[in-house]
Symmetry: C2
Subunit: 276 residues, 2 copies
């Protein structure tokens, strides 16, 4: 096989891996035949030092021609970025993911540690667990959560651990502290967290199982930014009203933000029905 | 006494405190009579909601008319900011301060902690102590080092503490970890560091004794940015050659960066002699 070097989002060079692309296409719901066909077409026309971003955009374009629903899933990573520029909709999405798994949640709560008060992005609890999440939202591809992030989050959870909190009326101490990001972690951040213990790192595709993509797909909770029938300002209007999830897009919600054109509403609700 | 509200650098309002201004003037070397005279003049002409920055600038102007040397000392805080925009000259200044106290030093060294490698801004050691310093340089008045800084520095020192290092050929473990800034700390950062232990915070005027201003004045090591006879680009040229300290400004150093005008060199060296 020919080795073609491509350029990753962070500027580093790697050899193009057709398996990785195929896996990513399959994961988005494309069947084996379509995935293989797209990978073949990409590979045959690939020029050295193409950006992986472009490659994936092209593959996405091909997939959209083949399967609209699969394409929407495929663009999930970008849809998460479109929740920005602030991190609030992202935090609300995370809370919804935990709730789907049976946890109760609070967003942006201040908790008193041993030595300082901390604003915790997402708190999730049930009868036996109390999870606190520091969410690092990035709206640029290639931005990583790095060692400095892992260090301050570790110190924060060290200060929180051992204290008793009453969420849902029951006294509990911290079970797990998470640093959760929509992009990648630097290698040093991962190494530090694995060694230092007491902290779970969850990124877009890290760890291999139980990562953010798994959480979203497992729960079938897609953000409204996955919908191709909404434009940027319509998404923004809905998010400002607290509608983060695709499922929350109802006829009433659309009317409330001023989308009243019957045909347009129909197209949007049709896409919601297919995707969510 | 009349209470006049003034606006601090961080935008908050406080009642003007003539004692604070006088203390600051005395500290810069102005004698009691001059200080009182200046404070009286300021107080009699003070309008509500004047910015403290302006008040101090006016006081400085008056002091400059009275005593040139005292004025240079008075402007030390600004001179430290002028070491920017990068933090490197500041780190070199800190190393010189530790060396003046008999320590050996290294700047920007990578040390391996238990779980991660850390770049430490300044390392200072003698036979019995090993001090590591994280330097937070700010070049804007009113910027504070906050809880997040204290958290990541705490985690960094926690990872370093307990490991053995050979500086100067002798095996030592960390004696003290410092977070050292040229501005202020937020209240929560101070509270956290005092409670969590194992970390010393040193800022421009924090703690009351042994702060950065004390360190610089005690060592009589003024940065070249204190000199009023050098312009911004001349300072930059000297700093790029590693000349951070006022004392390092010799005839040869000036010639090396292209300052050859005899009269100008004379004026600069004259100021160096008076201040350094």
């Amino acid at each position: 096989m020919q080795h073609i070097e491509v350029i990753k989002n962070d500027g580093t060079v790697e050899v193009f891996d057709p398996m990785k692309l195929e896996k990513s296409l399959r994961r988005s719901g494309a069947d084996k035949q379509i995935s293989e066909e797209i990978v073949d077409r990409i590979q045959n026309s690939l020029k050295p030092h193409t950006k992986t971003k472009e490659i994936y955009q092209n593959a996405f374009q091909m997939l959209r021609e083949k399967s609209h629903t699969a394409a929407m899933r495929y663009s999930l990573k970008k849809a998460i970025m479109d929740l920005g520029p602030t991190g609030f909709p992202f935090e609300n999405l995370l809370a919804a993911l935990f709730e789907r798994q049976g946890y109760k949640t609070k967003v942006g709560e201040i908790v008193q540690g041993k030595c300082a008060a901390h604003e915790v992005d997402v708190i999730a609890w049930n009868d036996t667990e109390l999870i606190m999440v520091e969410a690092k939202f990035h709206n640029m591809l290639g931005t990583k959560s790095d060692l400095k992030d892992a260090l301050y989050v570790k110190a924060r959870f060290d200060d929180i651990r051992g204290q008793e909190y009453s969420f849902g009326g029951k006294k509990q101490t911290l079970t797990e502290g998470w640093l959760l990001t929509n992009t990648k972690f630097s290698y040093t951040a991962i190494e530090y967290a694995q060694c230092g213990g007491h902290m779970r790192l969850v990124g877009w595709s890290y760890p291999e199982k139980g990562n953010l993509q798994d959480m979203i797909e497992g729960a079938s909770l897609h953000p409204i930014t996955c919908l191709t029938t909404l434009n940027r300002s319509e998404e923004k209007l809905l998010m400002d009203k607290g509608h983060i999830l695709c499922q929350a897009v109802t006829e009433q919600a659309l009317i409330n933000v001023g989308i009243r054109n019957k045909q347009k509403v129909g197209r949007i609700l049709n896409e919601v029905k297919r995707l969510c």
